[in-house]
Amino acid sequence: MSDVVEKTLTALPALFDSQTGAAKITNRLRQLIKSITELTSKHEEENLIKQELSAMKEQVSSPNTTMKQMREIMVRAMYCEMLGYDASFTYIHAIKLAQQGGVLEKRVGYLAVSLFLNEGHELLLLLVNTVLKDLQSTNLIEACMALTVVAQVFPKDMIPAVLPLVEDKLSHPKEIIRRKAVLALYKFYLIAPNQVQHIHAKFRKALCDKDPGVMTSSLHIYLQLIRVNSYKDLTGSFVTILKQVVGGKLPLDFNYHSVPAPWLQIQLLRILSLLGKEDQSTSELMYEVLDESLRRAEMNHNITYAILYECVKAVYTIHPKAELLEKAARCIGNFVLSPKINLKYLGLKALTYVVQHDAKLALQHQMTIIECLDHSDFTIKRETLELLFRITNAQNVTVIIEKMLDFLCYVPIKTLTFAPDNSWFIQTMNDVFSIGGDLLQQDVPNNFLRLLAEGKPEEDDQLRLYAVDSYLTVLKGHTSHLPQCFLQVMSWVLGEYAHLQESVDQREVIQFLTQLLDQRSVSSETRVWILSALTKISEGQTDLILDLAESLSSSQDTVLRQQAQELRHLSQDSQLHEWALPRGAPWDSIEVAGLIVFPYYDKLFLLNINSGYLLTFSRYSNFFRCTCICLYINFVYHFSSSTLILEGVKRVWGKDGYLPQKEATAPLVDEPSAAVQPPGQHEAAERIESRPEPSTQNQDKQQLASSLFVGLGVGSSMSLVRKLYYDGFTVSLRGNVVDCLEARSTSVCHYALLMDDPHTNVSFTGTVSYQTQPGHTNTLPFSGTLSTADFIRPLVVTTEEYGKLWLSLSHDVKQNLKLLTDAGDPLRTTLNALKDALQLHVVDIIGSEGIVACRLLSGAPCLLHCRVNGTALAMWLRSPHPALPDCILYHCQRALTHH
């Protein structure tokens, strides 16, 4: 064995040496491929290919380059083209290679031509002579290559030149040549049917060819021919062929996974179904063989299902026969119920085809269809909808349309990236809104508006302009039938972007919107949208607006009345208008002493870091009602002052969490929520993370302790190590929005933060993302520090409960603390001081001992046992949480020191 290996190895160098052109050729390409795979960036690849291409360019133009080398270059050029680089300078050389090279070079040359050039390419004309020469060649391989290229890329105008030669090949002794000639003619038929009309008789000869390959190829032509001419006389022949195939009369070579020539069967079934369509007598000829096909195709393999599918289609296409229909229906059932998803899909497709003839068939599979409707696979879902569309009738129309609209809601925004152009997109969305209307989920208009709003000013102004133009056209027509959500979308867009369209008089826009307001069919919610839009574009059009505001100020709807007031004020005071609704200008964010004011989309956010409050102000904000806060924001915004002191912002986080009385926002919340802004738009903007950050001093101490006490006692060192670990790595806070109050002009989000793992100090950071101008997302970081003390709450228990709990707790810490001795009762004073500082609950004080209880906010309890020991207070803490006693001890120490 080793001898053999040795021999092979010693022979290797010789092998390498003896390699002639071929080896070098492949090596060059290999080298290129290998070096490409080793690269890490697209940029490097580009550079490498650029070098490679310029080297190739030099080589191809050098007169010394041999044909062999040219062949090698061509292969590399093909590779570069596949990677997406332009190697068009080699095209002409590919043609030359096919023309001048030996058989080997021709092979590469022809392949390169078929890959590089398409039918219309002018260079192909240069290939015609080569093809003519090769078609006449006695070399079988050359003739094959010429036919292959003819069947793939050949200029339409040059067909007459080669046609006689290709025709001759139909009677060539070699079947491979005949087969390729048939396919070349098929290709000619596809691109220029008139050119091959005179040889239809020869196709018949091909159909009767003794070689099954040639016969199969001729079926491609017949499948096309039958669509235009009737070849009813051939029905018998096709039926006989199919019978023979199904009966296994073909050579075994043609079997595919034990199924005889499935491609041939399918082709024949297609031809038969075309022949038998609406023709009873022809159909009768094929009943038997169809029955046979259905029966034979039993094996559980994809290929038999493919044949069955084609059979079922044929049975339902030709003149019906009850018996066959029944069998076919059973087949479809098997498809639809199959657990294999590909078969299920095909079953649905078959069902879609079949229900046009027999709608009852769908009934049997109701449940499966319903399941498929909610399938996670988009393809299945779509096919199911197609099926539903076919079985729509007066009874089920509402349900089906609803399902389709659900789907529709999903489609438009998703497919926006594929939208061919702006006008198409806007038109499609118009259709969606006007057809889908108020059945649409709220996301659809929201997302649509967001898309419009987020675009870049220059790029997407085009889209916005389209939208404005298209909506103005819509509003010119009848508007009473339009769904409310469409009206809302239109008024928002007009309010924001009507000014982009300079050719349109703003007064005209105002008039359109005013007309809408007068319509009875318009809901009060929509009216609010319209009024908002009017507010935005009202600047300088006082005369129009004043009338409107006047008429609305007697409206029964308080919200409208309110808005009318705003409208009147704003339209009269352009400076205020500029403040409140700056047109198109990016709203920069200003950070003021822990308060961040920033605009997002249509709202102003006011984030008070100290309080954890996030206030949101709609751009439609109700100026005059909540004067205090709004003016405050405007003030901040307008003067961009960085020295403002936060006055008037109430402290909202008290010792018991946030204070229940929300003074600052109460009047806003009390307003009728007209939900001007669909809720949920701003939610995605916030993200709060927490990151523990122990004070460095403390960390140092712990590190020192852990290195000092390592190995002293397993328990203690473990707990120290663990503590460091906690402080260093884990996220110990979690938070979530506990409630979001939305009113017309504000929304207040409360984050409830809980501490899972106690730390002495924890800092939290967060970011709020928002958009100041379309397409630009800004991120504002904010941070704050919280200590364990903020999370400690009194635990109210009786002395008995305390006793029981004490015994059940496992982690304990003992330490002597400073006793406050400046009063009569040192213990009581000390405990009271701790109680005030840390919200502990003093359970009981008996003599020189006191018991105190507390717990983490929705977390673990901690019990403290205090005893006066001389001038010190011996404290013993127990908790189920390993780190909690340490933290509390630390805070107790601090509280007593600071006292």
Binding site: L15, T26, L111, A306, D377
Partner: protein, 166 residues
Amino acid sequence: MQFMLLFSRQGKLRLQKWYVPLSDSQKKKISREVIQMVLARKPKMCSFLEWRDQKIVYKRYASLYFCCAVEDQENELITLEIIHRYVELLDKYFGSVCELDIIFNFEKAYYILDEFILGGEAQETSKKIVLKAIEQADMLQEVRNTHIACLFVLVYEVTIGSFPSC
């Protein structure tokens, strides 16, 4: 069939055959779009995709995706089997084929495809006959450097792995 694409899991094109005349930029756009769509599919989903007015039929073999675009009325299952037969042909020709065989010998893969599908239609479905035609043309080729090819494949097969037996 409109076109056939072979691409890797990373979205790298390994083979492209177009049966409809398209400009280079169209080809690039389409292949990018199709590759993106196919790669986004989850493993349990069906092998078919609606794309424009056509159907994309795809199947993954080891690290390589085989993907065809066919007319809407076409029988998707038979297209799937066309892909499978092509893989079988490659497998037989290269002897348990892997992605690297196709990368390094892509012109061979094209020859086989041209012998199997011509002008977008199945030309010859018998495995034996297709391979015979290829071998005859190969015979003309100078002695093939099989030793080196073998060594090469061996090195890479460890990392990429061959197709499951067909």
